[in-house]
Symmetry: C4
Subunit: 201 residues, 4 copies
């Protein structure tokens, strides 16, 4: 198989993933029901829905950025990578559902814990995709190094999400703060710490 | 017509199909209404909707994968292929509707049978697209071989879906098991059986 | 500006249009409310919604095909073409709304007439886009010829849609038959008549 | 990093943005509930929703056009640009929500003022993206000049949107007229004024 064909394969996987991620991120806005009144009192119950929306927007946005850089390194595309990618998209596709449930119930502990579980599962699915790509590119050193650097951040994220599950029953706003904290950790470039952008080439 | 122009034609057909498939797969999540309570009792009625969602996600995911590989082989694009592709997308676009109906009614026999009919029609539309592509590429041996290998799997799928129609009235969970079985058959690579990935290049 | 840059411009216009068209065509399925019963009686009121869906799917599908071939010929991209394209997308974006209204009201004359008006406006917007492209490519003979061939078909379509407006008050099914007739006229290749596919290169 | 890789990076950022913008622009049509009657009386309450839809369609359409030309100039893609782009998309994603609220409440002053605030925030987010791109391309003179030309138009837009906030309480239709005025200012090419298309290359 020549170079041209391979290019096309990766680009369609990216196009499909971009499509699904773009829809996931935008579809959540449909859950924000326009309030029926026209003043601050009417908009108040929308606040918790808005906060969940912002949180999930950041979460999916971070995934898009990381997914973007991960697929950038893919040079061959066995069925296993396509499956692992579909698996990740499946869990991410449940984010709008979990977001709507949490927002509608004003961050009730059970809904926040469910959300935390979903974030954990998404994180694991992402690591599975990473490992799948790694095992298909065994002699690619650049890829290995980039993965190693990210793994510590990912394990920290998973541990944070896991701690947010029981903490939701103590005070669900602690969990919400954890979700935002992790998202910001991913969004702020590591430039100062590592001398390099985490998202730059 | 030169090579460059032809490339562009195929890529836009793929982009449009990817868009439609990405929307079909994601839009189904909108059918999952966030439960109004916040405990396991509230989430229970959602379970059957969730199962139908997973099933249809797998189904459309398999179609995306196969469609991806099929179009990969297309070298010319007469109107007939564009029509056959639109025809396939039409039937696939009804999947969210059938999924929502089945999930909402806890796998009532009639809804499961309807779903099985739709899967059958989608399968036939896919075979029509395949034949159309084949007849437009009469001297492409690589394409012919790949098609032959897939056809037996497709006929087995169609037979399974057909058997799921009457079986739904016996016990609809038998049909659901068949749907999952067929999806898994497509997702698991044939590596062990045929010495080759079904989705790899 | 070099060739490479120009390529990119056209491809993003196509990508955006494809995105909008893919969403328009798929979003209509959301209007099909899953019936709450589980037998033929429950599915009956869905029939007229299903028919409108099929009609609009064909209509938007034809537009996608024609738009595809039209943009294919674009070699420069002044603001005027981008505007004319946005203008066309605007009217097409109202198709799901008109479709839902007509389906929900069992083809009541007023809704069918409104639908016919919208199809007319879409057709005019398409011709405006065509003229805009033509006037930006004054010395492109290939483009001029293709346009001439299509124009007679387009005028016939517009006349048919126009006749469907008053006919809807006589019997709305006559109008529905006209809509289907025009769609089929576009979908069936002209091969026999003109010795050439209308959608092939 | 070579030229080829860089190309791919930008194109995926564009594809994702196009996806999100296409969904934003189309999803608003879902807010247009098909009227349940079938005559002019039934369609009347839809009019104000339709006007808000048209307004937001124009607004997002203008953003797509400008975004298109802005990204066209991007030659490197540090994390900061990706973040600034995500930030812009976030605010734009709230447009369907604000549109629905305003349309449903017949341009009640509070909803129109909220809409004006959102347009302002989107405008600021766009300028932030512009500055971010500018500071990443310090020695690109072509980019600097194009930015300078646009900046005056942008500041005029922001001032107009800002004035629309208090004016909504005087008469909300003045604000609506301002929104349309600004959109039209962006859509009409500057050819006559500046001797150059604002959207052409």
């Amino acid at each position: 198989m020549n170079e041209k064909t391979q290019d096309k394969v990766t680009s369609r996987l990216e196009a499909f993933s971009d499509g699904v991620l773009a829809i996931i991120i935008t579809v959540m806005v449909l859950e924000l029901k326009a309030p029926h009144g026209t003043d601050w009192v009417a908009i108040k119950p929308v606040i918790s829905e808005l906060i969940s929306y912002i949180m999930s927007f950041l979460f999916v946005g971070v995934y898009w950025g990381n997914h973007h850089h991960l697929l950038h390194l893919v040079k061959k595309l066995p069925a296993s990578i396509m499956l692992a990618n579909l698996h990740l998209l499946f869990w991410l596709s449940l984010v709008p559902f979990a977001t709507g449930w949490m927002g509608e119930n004003n961050f009730a502990p059970f809904t926040v814990a469910t959300y935390a579980v979903l974030l954990n599962v998404c994180g694991i699915a992402y690591m599975v995709l990473q490992k799948t790509i790694e095992s298909a590119h065994k002699d690619d050193d650049e890829l290995k190094q980039l993965m190693k650097k990210q793994t510590s951040k990912e394990i920290f994220s998973l541990a944070s999400y896991a701690s947010a599950i029981p903490l939701a029953y103590l005070n669900s706003y602690i969990s919400v703060a954890i979700f935002f904290g992790v998202a910001i950790m991913w969004l702020v470039p590591d430039k100062e710490l590592l001398g390099k952008d985490n998202w730059s080439e």
